[in-house]
Symmetry: D2
Amino acid sequence: MPAVRRLKVAVSGLGRMGARHANHFLHRTPKAELVAAFTPDPKELAWAKENLEPWGVKIYQDFDQLLKHEGLEAVCVATVTTVHAEQTIKAIEAGKHVLCEKPLSTKLEICQQVLETARRNPHVKVMCGFSRRFDASYLSAYAATKSGSIGRPTILRSQTCDKYDPSGFFVEYAQFSGGIFVDCNIHDIDLALWFFSAESKALPKVRSVVAFGVTALEPDLAKHGDVDNGVGVVEFYDGQIAYFYSSRMNAPGQHDMTEIIGTKGKLVVNGNPTTHLLETHNGDGIQRDIPQNYYERFEHAFVEEARQFTDAVLENKTVPVDLESSMEAVRIGVALQESVRSGKKIWFDREGNRVDENGQARARL
Amino acid sequence: MPAVRRLKVAVSGLGRMGARHANHFLHRTPKAELVAAFTPDPKELAWAKENLEPWGVKIYQDFDQLLKHEGLEAVCVATVTTVHAEQTIKAIEAGKHVLCEKPLSTKLEICQQVLETARRNPHVKVMCGFSRRFDASYLSAYAATKSGSIGRPTILRSQTCDKYDPSGFFVEYAQFSGGIFVDCNIHDIDLALWFFSAESKALPKVRSVVAFGVTALEPDLAKHGDVDNGVGVVEFYDGQIAYFYSSRMNAPGQHDMTEIIGTKGKLVVNGNPTTHLLETHNGDGIQRDIPQNYYERFEHAFVEEARQFTDAVLENKTVPVDLESSMEAVRIGVALQESVRSGKKIWFDREGNRVDENGQARARL
Amino acid sequence: MPAVRRLKVAVSGLGRMGARHANHFLHRTPKAELVAAFTPDPKELAWAKENLEPWGVKIYQDFDQLLKHEGLEAVCVATVTTVHAEQTIKAIEAGKHVLCEKPLSTKLEICQQVLETARRNPHVKVMCGFSRRFDASYLSAYAATKSGSIGRPTILRSQTCDKYDPSGFFVEYAQFSGGIFVDCNIHDIDLALWFFSAESKALPKVRSVVAFGVTALEPDLAKHGDVDNGVGVVEFYDGQIAYFYSSRMNAPGQHDMTEIIGTKGKLVVNGNPTTHLLETHNGDGIQRDIPQNYYERFEHAFVEEARQFTDAVLENKTVPVDLESSMEAVRIGVALQESVRSGKKIWFDREGNRVDENGQARARL
Amino acid sequence: MPAVRRLKVAVSGLGRMGARHANHFLHRTPKAELVAAFTPDPKELAWAKENLEPWGVKIYQDFDQLLKHEGLEAVCVATVTTVHAEQTIKAIEAGKHVLCEKPLSTKLEICQQVLETARRNPHVKVMCGFSRRFDASYLSAYAATKSGSIGRPTILRSQTCDKYDPSGFFVEYAQFSGGIFVDCNIHDIDLALWFFSAESKALPKVRSVVAFGVTALEPDLAKHGDVDNGVGVVEFYDGQIAYFYSSRMNAPGQHDMTEIIGTKGKLVVNGNPTTHLLETHNGDGIQRDIPQNYYERFEHAFVEEARQFTDAVLENKTVPVDLESSMEAVRIGVALQESVRSGKKIWFDREGNRVDENGQARARL
């Protein structure tokens, strides 16, 4: 029996991502111990009986019961987006540390409630799982940016493009996802906030946003106010601009990429996507594959996320992704999605209040 | 003495680009014969005496005299932007075919005059020199697009980034250039018009434009309403979007690049810039250089432009770049520049009239 | 307590590689349980007390005692090369499955003894750790080769180049390593045997070998009959050729790479080495880093090796690397090293006997 | 009429390469004037009447007559290899400068005769057309090597791989070509001589050579003592090694590449071959094309070769490729081809005499 102190973790939700999180905590996070899991879904339950129970993981069909599991210290919330906030709040109130899948919510008011709950429970660590921040390439880029080697980060371009899924799953999903800017570009927005605050630690302040979109392959997305290709621009006060692209129809697979452009140089993450280090030379030229989905691209980042969250709790350190920026990312994503629907450019004052293009106050978003 | 019929060409303006055009017609366009050149500038004159006169090229200090050069058939206008239109109009009226450096003008009314002069002289070939259309990589991409291999072109991303010139030349130049969207992104705009009309031949119709910019290194640009980094988006009617980036501060050199994203695939031109086919492996990792300026990147495209213009005239074919799209590129560039100044999104109806965001008519731009 | 059946493993040797193996079995191979470790070295012992004991791993300073650890099922031998064979033989005879670091030995006679011991104990799984066979890119290349997509594999080029270590460690090490062809290119030789037997499963038969070398940076290597840059060629019967390069002075870091050239196409593994997916654009051009050492490049392959070895034992399957080919790799490496020393080309008949260039028999190597 | 002094050049042979040379001197070498051409072949003659005569080029069917063309100053010999030497000698003796396609001859004795003729006529410039030395990437690599940035060049790897030509043309051609090492790798050998003499200007001295080959696709090559895939190694005195690969079956097209490995770094030319700057992203992954043949890869190098030869003559400078190294390249190629046939390693003493492996003298090659 190990004498090592390990964090007792539960995973809530055992869908596609939840099952992965369970595996990461069970097998790939030495200092964590997966002690429990929650799912109300029969198929997920069957999977858990085969893959978790034999390792000593207790399975719950009631989230409140899960929270009462003896000795439980932390919960990884990986249920559907619409329940993220509710479970996170309950877990915080039960004194459990929380790693919550992004986004906290697609609604700002609800994000706000999570934030307030977290503030009232400062001894509890709460972190939103922005996986890209744990990817080795992004971490190197961030270290280089902080070191000043590219001068002042000025322009950030970032994209999240998924392989086209002809099943149309993402059309159905659009009614819950908050739209392409909240579902896909939220990562890119988070990166902008991260890199643009690398020097000062202060979050950059949004001045205006605008977005455009088309439904090139799935006109039914329009029903949910969504698009399958989106282009958005976010202008920050103090001379920084981020611009984004997201797509549901990238032919060869998943392609995220980011450029951080500073006054002295530029960092490019994943400008040349590739699955492995293999190239094929044949009669059609030279060919390489790219990851087929987000997890294939970021598997190691998810593992690293689990490890850093675990370390932060065990060693009582600040979690690597702060909740304020996670909420700010939602605020920007929601504004971009509103812009793509209305066609209008949206303005904010330095305090984050909506104003019109002449600076006149509107209702706070 | 060659019995081959060769086109008698003159070059007007022997500055940086003019001298290159002169060389292209003199030495690298077999079917053209450089017979004359015009420059009022003493330094350029000295260069011409050394480099052109010995090859039998007559040098003029008066543009009107140049036009009267015996047997002259065509003029390549490569003077400063502000004289492009005036000389082009004079040449057309003198019955000379014209290859005019881009842009025709930074003012739409003047572009319009050129267009009308050209329409009144239909036997004269007039072409604006959008060099990128003659680059081998862009030509391959265009052929692939026309063949339908990427499905319907839906999103186009394109950038023109120059190496930072610490002499500040471009700050002075900003008062004439029309601004970064008219000076740099005009190429990218032209590419959007070209690729988005690859199927139907009809120019896509602009619905709205918006632009953002910062002065990261040269605050004095603001005096001329200009920026050193610009991001712009152009939304076309019928579901096509182009977005652009331009910069005056790209550290390693010149980097243009373009992605044409279709419903079935994507073409990337110059995603991996490189000067040659050389990589250096040393203690700092693996390194490669990129072109230091626009001409280093596009030298062969300029030569090809001279050849195709020459062929079009000699064989009485349509010139490869039509004047309408060249004027449309200016219109879009001017609108983007206006947007970066005003901060406002600009709307057009299908006929190209300015409207407000509710579709109400404004004055025609 | 997990109800899952896990393999009880011990690691012998806790030097650089041994400590990594210990970590892989302890934390990254879910179906294995690291129960014991052996090291006689005080520094390694201290490391083990801090990093292994708290996880319940029993530490031994006597290899024979280790083998008697209750319930022990398998041993990973990661001591210095000179002890590999002795410990492997002892472990086999004690009925333990063995994963032995490459090479079994730098002496053929000793390899032969291991092989014979293994044959006498067919219920024991013995595998030599040729890590490259577990790398995702090589696995993809192998699958493509087996599928016939490049036709018949005909030429294989492969290299193993290490970053220059100015401490001169590798000069000292040369007296034990067997020389650069046995120490570095052994991996490349193993790949040749693997890929050239992809179709038929039969090991290709060596016809002749020749090798060349220089001491560019470390003339003292000559004392041990070794070089810091080696080029070797192996000709197989039936029309296949493998050629190799190894170096101790690669400036940017570690660079292994392999080309498998078939009659219809070519597969290139790691032709474009890179640490991550990051490129830096600065005043010196575009730059990327490469791994600094072998482990940085192949960490995931080592983990996969531990997992596949564990699975093979638990499920009583054939181990993925057969001992015969591991011994054949040593035989070829030793012959190349002999050739680099003597300057002579070395010939074999189809049965593997040394012959002279006219096919006359010599003593069996 | 140009007052510029231009070199009056004739091209001998108007086959594939000859026609290209004619074009280069006619249209792309400003300081040269193509005044005459020779071909006895009816098809080439027809081509010349259409493409050269109209430009004032006189066509000859008799080489001796060509040499008498009034004012002729230089000849570019581009006939079949077997006539290279004879025409070169005649032209030298007629006082004409000569640019001769590689190789001078596939026979050493004949190369020697050319060399001696040239030595007897020191006022005549004679250069063998090793086109790769005029490629921009190779020129950059050479400049870097000369500057010392990679330390001492120690290992050179170089390959010339052609796209498979199913017509079997190269099988027929093998009876004249001298074999794959003389026909293809001659370029790579020349590069080794060039780079290894970058510091000292003295040609490196061959110590031994060995070669291997297979006929993977065209067994009939064996009739001419040739192979379709060859691997060769050349060991030089004083610690330098070059190793080569050539192939007639490269699936995607032509792929030459070279690594110059020094004690401090490495230069890689064309490690990532590509036709243009275009990548295609589609359902099969990411794809790019490579040049389909040698000329597509090296067109600009051939033009540069014509220009530098012209300049050397007009300005009475040393030609950029010296005859001694061109002959040495043949000597090494011939020895490699002999080795691939005999299977034996071939040794030389420092004076270039063939010796046996114990250093005993043999007949001079």
